[in-house]
Amino acid sequence: MHHRLNQALSDIGRGLYMTHVWALLGLHDVKQRYRRSSLGPFWLTLSMAIMIASMGVLYARLFGQDMEDYLPFLAVGLLLWTFISTALNELCSSFIAADAMIKQVKLPLTVYVARVVWRNLLILAHNAVILVPVALWSGKATVLGIVSAALGIVFLAGNAVWVGLILGIVCTRFRDIPQIVASLTQIVFFLTPILWKPEVLGNKIWVATINPIFHFIELVRAPVLTGAIPWQSWAVSLFVSAILAVIATSLLARFGHRVAYWV
């Protein structure tokens, strides 16, 4: 078992170190998707901007919120949620989609996960263009806030690697899981403060605070909107992250060598 654990740790270490492999594969994925379109990934940015603008106006009305306050909140939240939910769903098939490669060359499994995370980060970077006018408009962003938000995104990406290892292995073995993940992410979207602010819950605020996704989003959203560092969310996220790391490493140690047989 000790030997397997070493194998798993070396898979993660070597896999993350092989930046030139996963960055190239991830870049090709994005390019392939948008190769012959003139706007490329900015199509997503455009549709995201339209969605934020229209939902912002509508929901500010519905919830009786101040536009100036609500629109930036919605923009940052939706942006991060799109990253999280797309990543979650695509990470399910990080190994299934790379079956030909897995059966042909020996690469650390972490490479395939990092590739999916990287391609989603690239898309997020395109969407993040929207944040510039939003930040200028709200006028509350500080340098410290932006640095802290950037750290939050790096941290999110790191956790996506853990989640990707877990989902990748489990989904390769059980092909129902991707469907379950797809339905769950839709439900989580409504349960997480993205369209609505956690304050509206009043004394039922625990509904938001027990939700780790809320804290992950706060890592980036709070500093962008207020310039403050959300220490409580960092504490929760680090704790969740440690648990994910343990699960991911044990799954990789126990089943990593079986993935080539399952894909």
Binding site: H28, R36, A100, M101, I102, K103, Q104, V105, F174
Partner: protein, 262 residues
Amino acid sequence: MSSNYRSNAIGIVADRIIVSFPIFNAAHRSLKRTVLHATTGGRVARESESRVMVCALDQLSFRIGPGDRVGLVGHNGSGKTTLLRVLSGVYEPIFGSISVEGRVASLLDLNLGMDPEATGYENIRLRAILAGLTPRDVEDKLEEIAEFTELDEYLEMPVRTYSSGMLLRLAFAVSTSIDADILLMDEWLSVGDAEFSKKAAERLEGLVDRTPILVMASHDPNLIGKMCNRVFRLEHGKMTEELRDSQLRKTATSQQIPLPPS
């Protein structure tokens, strides 16, 4: 994946390796079935346990060292490709041990990782990185590879515009540009029209000559006789005979080597 192995450390040692595949169908991959299996036992459990396992390699033991040119022969489904995949590190045996010392290059699937929308140059980079080259090595080799393909300005175009022959040239040029200690091949590669295929054969022979260990699966007895100094015959995952040098030469020349038709 370091290439500074001393040549005497290169080698493959397999000890009673077993490889068997679980054959899943929708029911076996279903979570529901597994949960029921855990909670009920009895009938469902029996069904789950009757999962088909195919034993692809059955207790193979062998040693391969520098200078060995191993030919794998046997019918379709006898385990040749599986063995090659074990040697490349893709499949980890479920029992037994295997140690592979040296840098492995596998020429099993030439079209691996090709991105049809990307240009020829981009695909050369992509393939070379997947084969284990560093970005710097890739840039060093890029010109040589590009020149060998004779595709010139086509290399600036997406490979989806290529004919299958052109695609094969590109894939062949990249795959054979990577030096390794152990070369794995599934059948001899031949590409292109008469002129190009001569050039390709020379390149491949050059690569094989400077690679310490070759393991090649083939249905062609003449090829095996020409290229190999050892032959492993696989039958239903078992190794049923092994010919060495002199024996091999004799049988190959007298054309009596009992190989299956290709």
